[in-house]
C-alpha cells in the first residue's frame, strides 16, 4: 500500500479474518438476515416496482435538496421545532452541548443514531462531563464494552450470547451470570427503565424528515426511541441533510423498503412521527424539540451526478448483509463508522480518498449490494468511480478529496505494458506463447504470492486459443 492511511486496513482485515468466533457469529447472523429479507419480499415484481418508487423518491428529493431543506426548516419552525445547522461534526456537537448546558442537564439518554456516531457525539459529551447512555439494546451492549457499532442496523451483531452474558455480569452491578437471551433482555429492561425515568435530554436520529409537514420519522422495535423522544423534557434529533423527503406520501414506500431490506420485517413495532413539541393541554412529550441538520461533506457529494447517488441511501444495511467481504470481516475491520458497501462508497467521500480509499478497493465488484439496494444505488459503479479517482490527479469542481493519492509509476507502467500487449496482436501472441513455455514455473513472489498462499499457481497452456483456432482453420473475419 502506498497510502499513509490513518487506519491500517490490511492489519485490521487480517485480524478480523483470524477471529474464528467473529466469523461464526457473523455468518450465522448474516445468513439469517438475508433469508428474512427474501421471505418478506417474496413477490419479485412487487419488489422491483417498490424499488423503482423508492429510487424515484430519493432522486426527486436530492434534485430539490436546498428547497426542501428550507421548507423543512420553515415547517418545523412553525410547528415549534427549533432547527440548527451544522457544517461540521464539531459544530453539530457544540449545538448539543449548548442545549444541554442551557438546561443544566447532565443525563442524556439516546436512541440509535448513526449520524451521532459519525460526529462521535458520545465521546465529545463525555469529555464535557455529560453522562450519555445508549438505550437501544445493541448500542447499550457495545457501549458497555467501549466499542463502536459493527453494523448500522444491528450494532452488536459481532457478539454472541456468551460474550454478552459475561459483559453484563461484569459491568452491570448485582447481575448474575446468565446466557438466556430473555433474561439478558430483562436485565437491560430493568436497568434502562430507571434511566428513561430520570433522563433529562433525549437524543435520537431521524429516518426520514418530511419537508411538507415538518415531520421527523423514526423507525424502531424496542420502544427506547419513543422513550427518548417522549419522556425527557427536551428532545434533540440529529440528521444528515440528505434525509429530507418532499411529501408525506413519500414515506410509506420508503418505510416498506427500509424495514423489509433491513431485517425482513413488513413494518417495525413502532413508526414514530414527530411534528411538534408538547402543545398546551397535552400531558406528555418534550417541551422542546430541536433538530440538528448536519452537512459534514454531504453537500460536496451532491455536486457530482454519479457520486450523488450515494446520498439516496436510507441506511437499511442490506448491502452489508449481502456483501461477501463485510460478512467475513464485520464492521470494525473497516476502521470507520460506516462499514460494508455503503461505507465503502460513503467514507472515502467523507474522509478523503487518501485516508479511506482502500475501502473502495475492498470489493470484488460482485454486485450483490447493488442488486438488493432498496433505492437502487449503483454501488459497484460508484466503487469503480472512486477507484478511478484514486489515480486521477486532475482537479475538477467535483473532485473527491485525496484524488490521485494512489498514482504511482510502477502501476502506471504495468498497465501501460498490459495495454500495449492487448492492443498489438503480435505482442499478444508473443507474450502468451512465452507464458505457455514457462508453464507452471512462475516465481512465487510479488503479486503472485498472495494468490499462491491458498491456491496452486495458474497453469499456462502450451498453446493459446489463438493458435488452436488458427490450426483449426477458423476464419479470421
Amino acid at each position: 500500500m502506498t497510502e499513509q492511511a490513518l487506519v491500517d486496513f490490511r492489519a485490521n482485515f487480517a485480524k478480523a479474518l483470524n477471529d474464528k468466533q467473529l466469523r461464526r457469529n457473523l455468518t450465522k447472523a448474516m445468513d439469517s438476515l438475508r433469508l428474512k429479507r427474501k421471505a418478506v419480499f417474496a413477490d419479485k415484481e412487487a419488489l422491483e416496482r417498490l424499488r423503482s418508487v423508492g429510487n424515484a423518491i430519493r432522486r426527486r428529493s436530492l434534485s430539490k435538496l436546498p428547497e426542501l431543506l428550507e421548507k423543512l426548516e420553515k415547517k418545523c419552525t412553525e410547528n415549534g421545532i427549533q432547527v440548527h445547522w451544522a457544517e461540521t461534526k464539531a459544530e453539530a456537537n457544540q449545538v448539543f452541548l449548548d442545549i444541554i448546558r442551557r438546561h443544566q442537564a447532565s443525563r442524556v439518554i439516546k436512541g440509535k443514531s448513526m449520524v451521532s456516531e459519525e460526529t462521535h457525539l458520545n465521546h465529545f459529551l463525555e469529555e464535557q462531563g455529560v453522562e450519555v447512555l445508549e438505550t437501544d439494546l445493541g448500542e447499550y451492549i457495545i457501549q458497555l464494552d467501549h466499542e463502536t457499532p459493527s453494523h448500522i442496523i444491528v450494532p452488536a451483531i459481532h457478539k454472541n450470547r456468551d460474550q454478552i452474558a459475561h459483559l453484563f455480569h461484569e459491568k452491570i452491578p448485582d447481575t448474575p451470570y446468565t446466557e438466556v437471551i430473555e433474561e439478558l433482555n430483562a436485565i437491560a429492561r430493568k436497568t434502562l427503565r430507571q434511566k428513561f425515568f430520570a433522563g433529562e435530554i433525549g437524543v435520537s436520529g431521524v429516518n426520514f424528515a418530511v419537508a411538507e409537514t415538518g415531520t421527523l420519522c423514526l423507525v424502531e422495535n424496542e420502544g427506547n426511541g419513543r422513550m427518548c423522544t417522549t419522556v425527557p423534557p427536551v428532545h434533540i434529533a440529529i440528521m444528515g441533510l440528505e434525509k429530507v423527503v418532499e411529501k408525506l406520501e413519500d414515506v410509506p414506500p420508503l418505510l416498506r423498503l427500509l424495514t423489509g431490506s433491513a431485517t425482513g420485517q413488513m413494518i417495525t413495532t413502532y413508526f414514530n412521527m414527530i411534528t411538534s413539541p408538547r402543545k398546551p393541554g397535552e400531558k406528555d412529550g418534550p417541551r422542546e424539540v430541536h433538530l440538528v441538520i448536519l452537512d459534514n461533506g454531504r453537500s460536496n457529494i451532491l455536486a457530482d451526478p454519479e457520486l450523488r447517488q450515494t446520498l439516496q441511501c436510507i441506511r437499511c444495511g442490506a448491502c452489508l448483509n449481502h456483501c461477501p467481504v463485510y460478512t467475513r470481516l464485520g464492521g470494525h475491520a473497516y476502521g470507520y463508522v460506516y462499514p460494508g458497501p455503503i461505507g465503502s462508497i460513503l467514507t472515502p467521500q467523507l474522509e478523503g480518498l487518501q485516508n479511506a480509499g482502500t475501502m473502495a478497493f475492498a470489493s470484488t465488484l460482485c454486485g450483490a449490494c447493488a442488486e438488493v439496494c432498496p433505492v437502487k444505488i449503483p454501488l459497484t459503479d460508484i466503487l469503480r468511480l472512486l477507484r478511478n479517482k484514486s489515480y486521477d490527479t486532475q482537479d475538477s469542481p467535483t473532485a473527491v478529496e485525496g484524488h490521485g493519492y494512489k498514482k504511482n509509476v510502477s502501476e502506471d507502467l504495468a498497465w501501460k505494458g498490459w495495454t500495449a500487449m492487448n492492443t498489438h496482436p503480435a505482442f499478444n501472441t508473443l507474450s502468451t506463447r512465452m507464458l505457455g513455455l514457462i508453464g507452471v514455473h512462475l516465481p512465487r513472489v510479488g503479486p503472485l504470492k498472495g494468490w499462491t498462499s491458498v491456491r496452486t499457481a495458474p497453469k499456462f497452456a502450451k498453446k493459446s486459443l489463438h493458435q488452436l483456432a488458427k490450426e483449426r482453420g477458423l476464419s479470421d473475419e
Binding site: R49, L69, A156, N221, G223, L241, R256
Partner: protein, 216 residues
C-alpha cells in the same frame, strides 16, 4: 464569519449548479385492495404473528371481553385517558373486582412516578393498516403518548371500519398532510428486539403485551 446555515446553503447551491439531476416518474407500488373482512383478517393474522393478542368483538360486547381479559390477569391498575368516548364507556361500568381505573389526568412531570408503576394502559386508535398489520395512534391532550408505551400491557380498541388497506391509503384519504399531530404512531406489536444473536424476544423497553380488540 458566516453562519453554519449560510455555509451549508452556499455549498448546496454550488452543488446544484452542477446539474445533471435525472428524476424518474415516481410511480406507485402494486396496489392492495381487500374486502372489509379480508382487511380484518389480514391485520389480525399479521399482528398475531408479532405476538399481539387480537380479538374480534361485537360492538355491544367489547366491554365484557375487556373485563374478562383483565380478570384473567393480575394487574395493579389500568391507566386511561379521561374525556374520550372510551373513558365514558369505562368509567360508569367499572367493577370492584377489576384492576382499578386510573386516569392520566396530570402532566407527566407530576404523573411519572405513578405511570411507571402501573401495569396496564388502554387507548383508542385512529385506525389500522391491513397490508403490514399495524395500529394507527394519534395521541392527544386527552390520550397522552406514554399510555401506549410505559405500562407493560397495552390494550387498544380498534374500530373495524377504520382498517385501511395500506398506510398510504390511510394518510391520503384522511389528508394527513394538511395537519399532522404532535405525534402520530404506527404500532404493530409489543416492543421487541433481536439485538442478541438475532433471537427475537418481546417486551424490551415498551409493553410486553399488546392486546387489540377489533370492534366489528
Amino acid at each position: 464569519m458566516s453562519s453554519a446555515r449560510e455555509r451549508v446553503f452556499a455549498n448546496l447551491h454550488a452543488a446544484m449548479q452542477r446539474g445533471g439531476f435525472k428524476v424518474p416518474e415516481t410511480g406507485t407500488p402494486l396496489p392492495l385492495t381487500l374486502s372489509r373482512q379480508e382487511r380484518i383478517d389480514r391485520l389480525k393474522t399479521l399482528m398475531e404473528n408479532m405476538h399481539t393478542e387480537v380479538y374480534v368483538v361485537k360492538a355491544d360486547d367489547w366491554l365484557n371481553v375487556l373485563k374478562e381479559l383483565l380478570r384473567q390477569r393480575s394487574l395493579n391498575g389500568l391507566v386511561y385517558g379521561p374525556g374520550t368516548p372510551l373513558a365514558a364507556a369505562l368509567e360508569p361500568s367499572w367493577e370492584n373486582d377489576l384492576p382499578p381505573l386510573i386516569p392520566y389526568n396530570e402532566e407527566i412531570e407530576q404523573f411519572k412516578d405513578r405511570l411507571f408503576a402501573i401495569d396496564a394502559g388502554i387507548t383508542t386508535t385512529r385506525g389500522g393498516i391491513a397490508e403490514t398489520g399495524a395500529l394507527i395512534l394519534w395521541p392527544d391532550a386527552r390520550e397522552p403518548r406514554l399510555l401506549s408505551l410505559v405500562p407493560a400491557v397495552h390494550i387498544a380498541l380498534l374500530q373495524a371500519d377504520t382498517i385501511y388497506n395500506t398506510f398510504a391509503e390511510a394518510m391520503n384519504s384522511e389528508r394527513w398532510q394538511e395537519g399532522m399531530p404532535t405525534n402520530a404512531l404506527l404500532i404493530s406489536g409489543p416492543s421487541k428486539t433481536a439485538d442478541i444473536e438475532l433471537v427475537l424476544t418481546f417486551g424490551v423497553h415498551g409493553p410486553k403485551e399488546l392486546i387489540v380488540l377489533i370492534v366489528d
